[in-house]
Symmetry: C2
Subunit: 473 residues, 2 copies
Amino acid sequence: MNDRLNLAALPEVRLRPLPPEALAALQQRFGAQCSAAAAVREQHGRDESAYTHIPPPQAVVFAESTADVVDALRIAAQWRVPVIPFGVGSSLEGQLLAVHGGISLDVSRMNQIVAVHPEDMTATVQPGVTRLQLNEAVRHMGLFFPIDPGANATLGGMASTRASGTNAVRYGTMRENVLALQVVTASGAVMRTGTRAKKSSAGYDLTRLFVGSEGTLGVMTEITVRLVPLPEAVSAAVCSFSSVEAAVRTTIAIIQMGIPIARCELLDEHTVCAVNAHSKLSLPEAPMLLMEFHGSPTAVREQAEAVQAIANEHGGHAFEWATSPEERTRLWTARHHAYFAGVQSRPGCRAITTDACVPISRLADNILAAVADAEAAGLPYFMVGHVGDGNFHMGYLIDPDDAAERERAERLNRALVERALASGGTCTGEHGIGLHKRDFLRAELGDEAIACMRAIKAALDPHNILNPGKIFS
Amino acid sequence: MNDRLNLAALPEVRLRPLPPEALAALQQRFGAQCSAAAAVREQHGRDESAYTHIPPPQAVVFAESTADVVDALRIAAQWRVPVIPFGVGSSLEGQLLAVHGGISLDVSRMNQIVAVHPEDMTATVQPGVTRLQLNEAVRHMGLFFPIDPGANATLGGMASTRASGTNAVRYGTMRENVLALQVVTASGAVMRTGTRAKKSSAGYDLTRLFVGSEGTLGVMTEITVRLVPLPEAVSAAVCSFSSVEAAVRTTIAIIQMGIPIARCELLDEHTVCAVNAHSKLSLPEAPMLLMEFHGSPTAVREQAEAVQAIANEHGGHAFEWATSPEERTRLWTARHHAYFAGVQSRPGCRAITTDACVPISRLADNILAAVADAEAAGLPYFMVGHVGDGNFHMGYLIDPDDAAERERAERLNRALVERALASGGTCTGEHGIGLHKRDFLRAELGDEAIACMRAIKAALDPHNILNPGKIFS
């Protein structure tokens, strides 16, 4: 990577002026569904990234149908106005920030579940449907949607960042679980990318090209996903360790033995403390694995016994079981609040969050080096990890107005990414590139891959109106 | 679909002349690695499709390294010569036929296993490595590569058609199991598309864009795949049924119950007869499910008992178990020879093979209608299916020189595809589009998706030298 990078440099803002004719056309077409009110714009100009300097979008359009998305894009194309799709605003890397101005296209009102085919275990939803909403709708059919990034994100947002989360170690990510999309293109055409078939060799895999494209290639208006049967038996357990290393080595052994664990989450001591304070729990304040097992009662017992034996070998304390649904929910809710608990542990701070994912054999050295660096830097931090996948997050808690703190955090982030790339890993397991990781993407895949992505972007969005400035600058 | 289609029309051949300077440049660079001998060209101009009218490529280059591929593509780009990557020639839809002339780029000598990381369960191979070769190399590490299309195809060919096969119901397809590629672009640049991390949100999913692109976007020179642990216990069973319908309904129930069956293959009576003759077996000549269970001994027993109960409910005869590795190998080898056994059952014929894949709830009606149509048409056929995935193949056995037979088979194929599309399925589960299914692709995804694919193709291969004429005409 380039050593001359100014690590604390904030993403450049280059606003394109919003032509008054464009705003007039949007207002005429959308009436009360279009707002230029400051409060509405502000609400659509903030995400969970550490960037606070970027002006909000110039207007917000609330789409209620595919036809609305088509018309918004046609007007935007006519006047070359940037369009930034918006779900609930839970992205972490600046994906929804209006660095080139333009409109926020809020799809949260497109929250209909279009169809569920329980006999095929598929659902088709509008992009504003959230994961909890979908799960609520299919639970009585004995099914669930396995992708769980923690936040109650929209399916549109999750598809756009190729999200994953706690269940991915067993069930895969949005990459594996999106079967097909309906997408509106930059010119306002409506396109289908696939079918409900479980597999297909029908031409270029447009579904997976759009999944993870962060709104830069089109706007998703329908998402068809796989559902999975609710497991016959579920049990969750927590196990504390005397060191992060022991917890990570336990994880590595579980994965290398091929145990089909459903969730395997690491929380460091800082995170456990923050979670205890935030969620009024009394978990032992030590590095902890939070695990879940799915299957038949026999299979769950077998898996749990095998994991317990591995944990014992690494000095893990006795498992504490959470077998009732209420106890499990309490634990997983606490885990899902870990990010906010961490951020709240330093009032007024923002988190600069890392997202490296490495081959499992390199997980221990990558995590241990990241922890050692963070300790040496003296910056408050917390660490959580979807460690079964080799994915972990450091949250460096900075004062967003303190350039020196930002610089220290970005230096830590950069060292962490460099180690991950040297280990055969990626700079982002699940959060995406957004504004924050554009340089890392180049370091990871090289100039040729960036050129290829740019060529695709130029072919599908020749006027660069779809979320410009994201993924590459 | 367009009713005016001439179903027996053969793909148009529009040869671009090979410029003598291009051949001279190839010969100078490649010496004995370049051949224009008729026998060599013929061998690279035949696949397993039913097309026999297309002239062979004008020359063959045997690449032995990424540098060879780069130079071949640079010369081809300079003279606008079509380049068709070639592995073992087992594609079924005309993927390797030189409808626009040009050179066959044979990568079968690029058969090195570049790296295996057993602790991460990944392998990186050159494109000419075959699946049996890879499995041979990793078995002693307790690992295997789960994608099994039957033929001993190359990994390059399998990645290019997004292949799957018998294990996909449990382990996914090439879509899920390729982690990263090294690709040489149309201009001769070398590009990486990913890392060895299990998951990633790093920009556009170039890996999955190239997987299944049938050599039209670049030439793969390294393929990084996931391996999986050899199961602790394996058992295989055959179960005969009085009707295809009973076998299919058994399959649907297995899948809907979420039983993690590792293989679930249907053979109709014709196929069982052909297989018995070809492989000297004495399987009961009735519709049959051929199944395999993987897991711990307990898990395998649980799965097998559950499946046996379901089969009984549908009138399945007693399971016959193949528990020894030798017996299992004999059974699966017979299954893998089913295609050739079927073709050999009518001397001199070629098979027109269908490849529809439908949501599991629609499998019975799709298969039964296909069988009824085939019976009514009076054309010899066989049927096999990766039914656990909703994917099945009719093989219509035609005299390739008999236009009327071809027309009848194509009419059956078309009706079958129309039903699959109306059921929310795809025209191709695993064989790809090639020349044969180009019209079906448009019917399946619509004009906008084709336009999007064409735009990507034009952006990445502006002179249309990479396997031109395939996927879209």
